[in-house]
Subunit: 199 residues, 2 copies
């Protein structure tokens, strides 16, 4: 005997992050109870998204087209490339509305022990873009983790092997806005002391 | 221009209860990043559930069959009927493993001001069952709200009109297990004083 459809639904909903059995139950019951058309819509969009969304040929961001909307936007500054680890980072930077260049998504970070080398994070594609386009600056916005730092250094040497005149920069590190010193970790604090700026 | 599929997905995911924009984003990115087959499975199950799950002809619980698994189980005691407001209540009672009778789901509670009368909560179906089957007891497990109480009284008089010998009972009310008296509300406390039991 196959499982009742309701139980199957409750199980399937648990593939969503931070959705356990209780939340899945509540979701299933609420969908059945008056949100059926929205449930069908979600099902359709979900299937399409899972099957059609791939990586942009230029920047490796998620898109259902060959080239994503940012890469194909003529308004964006193609001389600037911001290198990020994941597509959600693009979303975070876009929401600041203070960057108008292009992006490049690594979809990860260098981690040789896990078998993630330069090829896995698309660095040959990035090298191709640097060679082809008139890139003037690469802003590296990888995480402030060991892997992120290693990736940043690797990209810097890669870019400078191709063209030594391209500026390679890194997001500023220091005290976050609204951050209180007493709650800040020692490493960040010592870093912001070392990198103090004249005002 | 239509919206990018990723944005459509993030919007559609927000039809789930307590999923806002941030959670929907995280869900979408995590599904795209390595959980695609699970996403497709969820989409399929969701669509089937939304289209096929209806109400059991006997007890009005959710099921994709004509009669639900509880009603069609010959092991269950058909003389006992527990009346609940919603299918999730059945789940709660079943998880106690201390009830082996049948259920009847009102899918709501009497609320004349909202246009919910006896017909909307399926009382004619319940009356039919009481007339046809050899029911010996009706356990009313509606919520301890004004609507729940009103519904309980209505069902009691309905059942007694049909057959005065059927026992109509209500879930015991009082101090919950592990409940500390100092945090209990005054109404519950006065109720449990009034209904005190000799030990």
């Amino acid at each position: 005997m196959t499982k009742p459809l309701l139980e199957q639904l409750i199980e399937a909903l648990q593939c969503l992050p931070s959705v356990g059995k209780k939340s899945a139950q509540r979701m299933a019951y609420q969908l059945l109870n008056g949100r059926r058309s929205k449930g069908v819509l979600l099902s359709d969009v979900l299937k399409q998204a899972m099957e059609k969304i791939g990586l942009c040929q230029k920047c490796r961001d998620y898109t259902e087209n060959e080239v994503c909307s940012i890469c194909s936007n003529p308004q964006r500054d193609k001389q600037l490339i911001c290198v990020v680890e994941s597509p959600s980072d693009i979303y975070a930077i876009e929401s600041t509305a203070s960057y108008s260049g292009n992006y490049f998504v690594l979809q990860g970070a260098l981690s040789p022990l896990d078998g993630i080398g330069p090829d896995e994070i698309g660095l040959p594609v990035l090298a191709g873009i640097v060679k082809q386009d008139a890139v003037s600056e690469i802003i590296i916005a990888t995480s402030a983790t060991v892997e992120g730092e290693a990736t940043a250094h690797y990209i810097k040497s890669l870019v400078h092997q191709i063209n030594n005149e391209i500026i390679v920069s890194r997001l500023a590190q220091g005290v976050p806005l609204g951050g209180e010193l007493e709650y800040l970790d020692a490493s960040t604090l010592s870093l912001s002391l070392a990198n103090r700026q004249t005002i």
